[in-house]
């Protein structure tokens, strides 16, 4: 077994993504957790490039690291209480969570490992971004349209529940 450059990069990036994810779920400061999530997502983007999906990697960086993470940071800061930077998890739930996570990993990895022979596939060069676009306008057209409806619904829904006061409402909100 020879170590190629690809493998070394994969190992490094994969390890970083993993470490990032650990810190995302363990970091006691939520803002740090968001940043660590950024690391994980960025590393995944690099993996995407390695796996022949550079377009997707770009989207990942733009959408996630650019958009979602900003949103998240806003979310963290807007819901911050005074003296609330420390967010300790309770001990019993931590052990419980670790147990479940390990069990899940064991089941998943075990299944993959047992079936690894069937997964011996050779890498195939990607069909390219144009092909992706074609599929969006053919087979996945309905899904594409449904997704746009979904995004619209999400936008309106988020606005409706997040805004403090409804338009046309009397200035001092008095709801039941």
């Amino acid at each position: 077994m020879t170590f190629t450059a690809t493998m070394i990069v994969f190992a490094l990036v994969g390890a970083l993504a993993f470490v990032g994810s650990i810190f995302t779920v363990r970091s006691s400061k939520l803002v740090h957790a968001v940043l660590w999530l950024g690391v994980t997502l960025g590393m995944t983007a690099i993996l995407f490039v390695q796996l022949g999906a550079p377009f997707l990697a770009g989207i990942q960086l733009l959408l996630y690291v650019g958009g979602v993470m900003t949103l998240m940071i806003f979310g963290v800061l807007l819901t911050k209480r005074d003296g609330d930077s420390e967010l300790k998890t309770e001990e019993p739930s931590r052990e419980r969570g670790a147990l479940i996570a390990l069990a899940v990993f064991a089941v998943l990895a075990g299944t993959i490992w047992l079936g690894r022979d069937a997964l011996q596939r050779t890498a195939v060069p990607s069909l390219g971004t144009g092909w992706l676009g074609t599929s969006l306008l053919t087979r996945h057209l309905v899904a594409f349209e449904a997704l746009s409806a979904l995004l619209l619904a999400a936008m309106i829904g988020a606005i409706v529940i997040a805004r403090r006061r409804d338009p046309d409402q009397p200035s001092e909100p008095k709801e039941s």
Binding site: G14, V34, G75, I100, V104, V124, S126, I161
Partner: protein, 99 residues
Amino acid sequence: MTLTTCLILSAALFSVGLYGLLTRRHAVGILLSIEVMANAANLNFVAFAHYGGASWGQAFALFVLGLTVAEVAIGLALVMLLFRSHKDVLVDLANAFKH
């Protein structure tokens, strides 16, 4: 770098996300964990696509990205709402239905 190693990496990411899901008390923290899990699924899609030969995996991942954005938007709005009504976002304190 084979399909198997990619899948195992994503399984590990998924498990870590699950851990966060079960231990984070802050609602935004749970959201972050769910993002980690979705990201793991995306890695699967892309890996299968790369080693499978067709583009469906990338298309799937693209849709998942769009979906996650919508989910996060709703999630954060709900977190704001919770914060405003309870002055708190620790999910185990929001507990009116303890029976």
